[in-house]
Structure formats: structure tokens, C-alpha cells
């Protein structure tokens, strides 16, 4: 009964998706390098997420190690502060990078239980004018099915490091930049450090 309809549908889908298929292009060397970093990181993180025999706290520590090994937290911290960076003394800068890292762990670590049913598919990549590479991924399955997540990587001393994560057009760097900007402009670096420490001291509540 269903067969003719299914065949017709399949043909229709094939034609339509054929219309929409983007031109295939070989990846550049940079793109391939950056891509490897992302696919390896994703695989390692997902493996930890799925291993429910390990307590949540320990899994967060493992993910922290995997992720921060591939993040350029210094560049990320600088980009978040943008023009405010200059207002920080050397000591404050070091302190800020450290607190920002803790803050990221607390903000995202608590959510790890939500991400265990998903897979991540690399759907595209592009090299930017000034050498950064963006790896485009899509989440398959689970809670956030279909969400597009872009990773921006920069090459420092021959190694590709993530400097931003952009979810459906929402950039982490941009979002924190906007939040931190008004705090620094009203209360200086001291106020931002104080607020970050306050959040970090409240610690992480695991959902």
C-alpha cells in the first residue's frame, strides 16, 4: 500500500536535496588540522559523558582536562575583555584568566548530564581571511537535536586552539563581553574579579 507513496517521496526528496546540495570543495590544510582537534575533542568528551559508572564530579574533572587542553583560555579571556583588558594589571590579568576558567567550569559543568544522548556531526568548515578556522557542527539526537554549533580555532605556535564557541549565532565571547563590559566600566577590574569570585565561591550545583 505504502510503496508507491514512499518511492514518490524518496524521489522528491532526492530531487529537492539535490537542488540544495552545496558545492563540494577540498579542505585546506588549516581546515583539516582544526577539524582533527574538534573531532578528537568531541569523541573524547562524549566518551566521558556516556560512562555513567564514574561519579559526576570526576567526569567533570576529566572533561575539564580534555577541553582546556584544546582551548586557548588566554586569548579567549582577552577577547572577552576587549578594550577593558588594558585596565587590568599583570597580576589582575593572571587572576582573571584563572577565575574565568573556574567560572566556565561552574557554568557548563553542571549541565553535563543533559548532553549524554547526543552525537556531534561536523557539517562544514571555513578558513577566515586572517587564518582562523571555523568548524561547523550539528548536534544529532537528544535534547538539542539539530542545533548548530560553530567552533572558532586559532593557530598558535603550530597548534590549533578553540577561541570561541558559537551556538546558533550566539557567541560565547560576545555574550560574556557584553556582560563584563558594564561591570568593568562601572567598578573597574576589581568589581569584575569580585563578582567572578563570588559566583565561583557559590560553586556548582549539579542538576
Amino acid at each position: 500500500m505504502l510503496r508507491p507513496a514512499r518511492i514518490a517521496t524518496a524521489v522528491f526528496v532526492a530531487v529537492v536535496s539535490g537542488l540544495a546540495a552545496p558545492g563540494v570543495r577540498a579542505a585546506t590544510e588549516s581546515e583539516a588540522g582544526a577539524r582533527t582537534v574538534i573531532s578528537e575533542t568531541v569523541e573524547e568528551v562524549l566518551a566521558v559523558l556516556r560512562d555513567k559508572t564514574v561519579p559526576t564530579e570526576d567526569r567533570i574533572r576529566s572533561i575539564e582536562q580534555i577541553v582546556y587542553g584544546r582551548f586557548d583560555l588566554y586569548v579567549m579571556s582577552r577577547l572577552v575583555l576587549a578594550r577593558s583588558w588594558k585596565r587590568f594589571s599583570e597580576e589582575q590579568k593572571a587572576e582573571y584568566v584563572e577565575e574565568f576558567k573556574k567560572y566556565l567550569t561552574n557554568s557548563y559543568g553542571s549541565r553535563i548530564e543533559r548532553y549524554d544522548q547526543q552525537r556531534v556531526e561536523i557539517v562544514g568548515e571555513r578558513e577566515e581571511a586572517r587564518g582562523d578556522v571555523v568548524i561547523q557542527t550539528k548536534i544529532v539526537g537528544g535534547e538539542f537535536e539539530g542545533a548548530l554549533v560553530d567552533y572558532r580555532l586559532r593557530n598558535q605556535n603550530g597548534e590549533w586552539r578553540v577561541i570561541d564557541i558559537v551556538i546558533e549565532g550566539i557567541s560565547m565571547v560576545s555574550n560574556y563581553r557584553d556582560q563584563f563590559k558594564s561591570i568593568v566600566s562601572s567598578g573597574g577590574p576589581e568589581l569584575l574579579l569580585e563578582k567572578l569570585k563570588e559566583k565561583n565561591a557559590a560553586g556548582m550545583t549539579i542538576d
Partner: protein, 250 residues
């Protein structure tokens, strides 16, 4: 999301205004640190509305959404979301055409046909599995595509983050949704409210976590809304000038 088309939105707002009055009475006037953001000249008013919305959420919307979440398993909630998404087809299709995107229009039409039949009235989304992704164009995006600027950030009561362009878009889209013309007001209100509550119940943990983590939740939401919409208008194409500003400090 679609309650703009409802003929008497005041009834619902009236009931919430009572709660809001009680809530806002306890809170002091909006306080803004530092220089105002150029994208948000109405920040003082917006923060007030945002606080009202947060109150309504905490005391009414979130508790109800938690109830829904307790009763319905997540896959069922996701299916309901898909059903509503599928029923938005006239809006998506019309806006594909208004943006001169015939391929998107055909794809969205194919999605509607497949998901309404094989996907059982839209509760399932087999079309995505065939590689047919939805485009979800709305009239706010169409206006953006035509070159209408978004205007200042604007927080609407109950409806949440918006701007003048998207507010007009929301109103226009609600007229092209078919069912409110054929069913009594209370039915279309119930459907709209049900859709929103279902969506809220899918986001319980995410919103709770973001509220807890953000140093300035109002700014976090504003930034997310502005970038998300801009990205939708550009159809995920990058904006080089914007990126330069974000990623290079020289």
C-alpha cells in the same frame, strides 16, 4: 509566541498585571551601571519589563511548566513542539516566498507534506532524517531581508525579547496562521498558551542554569536575542565586519 493575533490580549495581561503589581512593588527602580549600550537605548524601560516577565515566569509560568514536565516525558514534549512547528507551515512558506527563496519554499512544502502524513500530523519529523531541514522564516526575518533595520532592543510584556521590526513581524505572522480565524478566541488562546508552556517546560534546566551562572542575566539574554535573530536574518552566513570586531583587538 503567536498571541499577537488574539483579538483580546488584554484579558490575559489584565490578570497578570495584578501579580506584576505585587511583584514590582517590592523591587526598586531599574539601576543601570556604566554607559548605556548603543543597541539598547530603552534599557531602563526594558529592564523594568524584563523584571516583570521574570516575576511572571517565576511565579506562574515556570511552576506550570514544571507540572507539565512532571506529567509528560521529554520525548512527548518534543513531539508536541514538532507538532506546533509543523502547524507553522503557512508562515514559513509565505515568508520563503516573500524572501524570493524558491528552494526553501519547496523544501518547507515537502517537509509539511512528509511530516503531516508519514510524521502523523507533524508529531514526528521524518523529513529531517531525509536531510530536509526546516527554514523557519518569519516576517521579522523577511523585513530584515528587505533591509528594514531592527530598531532598538525591546522587551515586550510576557512575550519577551524583541525589537520593533520583530514585533511587527510577530503580528503579521499571527494573521497568516489559519486556525484563529476559525475557532473561538479561548481555543486559540489555549493553543498558543499550551505551545508556550510546552516550550518552557523543555527549557527548565537550561534557563535555571543560565540564570544562576550569568553575571548580568538581562544582558546575557539581550546579547543572545540580538545575535540569534541577526544570524537568522543572515541565514547563518557569517558577517566578516562583525567578526573582525569580535576576534581581533588591533
Amino acid at each position: 509566541m503567536r498571541s499577537w493575533g488574539d483579538p483580546e490580549p488584554r484579558t490575559r495581561l489584565g490578570a497578570l498585571a495584578v501579580i506584576a503589581a505585587a511583584l514590582t512593588a517590592a523591587v526598586s527602580c531599574a539601576h543601570i551601571d556604566g554607559e548605556p549600550d548603543p543597541s539598547d537605548p530603552w534599557e531602563r524601560m526594558n529592564r523594568g519589563t524584563f523584571r516583570f516577565n521574570e516575576g511572571a515566569d517565576r511565579w506562574v509560568v515556570e511552576p506550570v511548566a514544571k507540572g507539565i514536565d512532571f506529567v509528560l516525558p521529554d520525548p512527548v514534549e518534543r513531539s508536541i513542539r514538532k507538532f506546533f512547528d509543523n502547524s507553522m507551515f503557512p508562515v514559513y512558506f509565505g515568508n520563503d516566498l516573500l524572501q524570493f527563496k524558491p528552494v526553501s519554499a519547496v523544501e518547507d512544502l515537502a517537509r509539511f507534506v512528509i511530516n503531516t502524513t508519514i510524521g502523523i500530523a507533524g508529531f514526528f519529523d521524518p523529513a529531517s532524517r531525509f536531510g530536509l531541514e526546516g527554514h523557519r522564516e518569519d516576517f521579522g526575518q523577511t523585513l530584515g531581508y528587505w533591509g528594514v533595520p531592527p530598531g532598538p532592543y525591546l522587551v515586550l510584556p510576557i512575550l519577551g525579547p524583541s525589537n520593533p521590526r520583530d514585533s511587527v513581524g510577530l503580528a503579521a505572522d499571527s494573521f497568516s496562521t489559519v486556525y484563529p480565524w476559525f475557532v473561538p478566541f479561548w481555543v486559540s488562546s489555549a493553543i498558543t498558551t499550551g505551545n508556550r508552556l510546552n516550550q518552557r517546560s523543555l527549557a527548565l534546566d537550561e534557563i535555571a542554569a543560565e540564570r544562576r551562572a550569568a553575571l548580568d542575566y538581562y544582558v546575557a539574554v539581550r546579547n543572545a536575542y540580538l545575535n540569534y535573530r541577526e544570524n537568522q536574518v543572515r541565514d547563518q552566513e557569517e558577517d566578516e565586519a562583525d567578526d573582525d570586531d569580535l576576534y581581533y583587538l588591533d
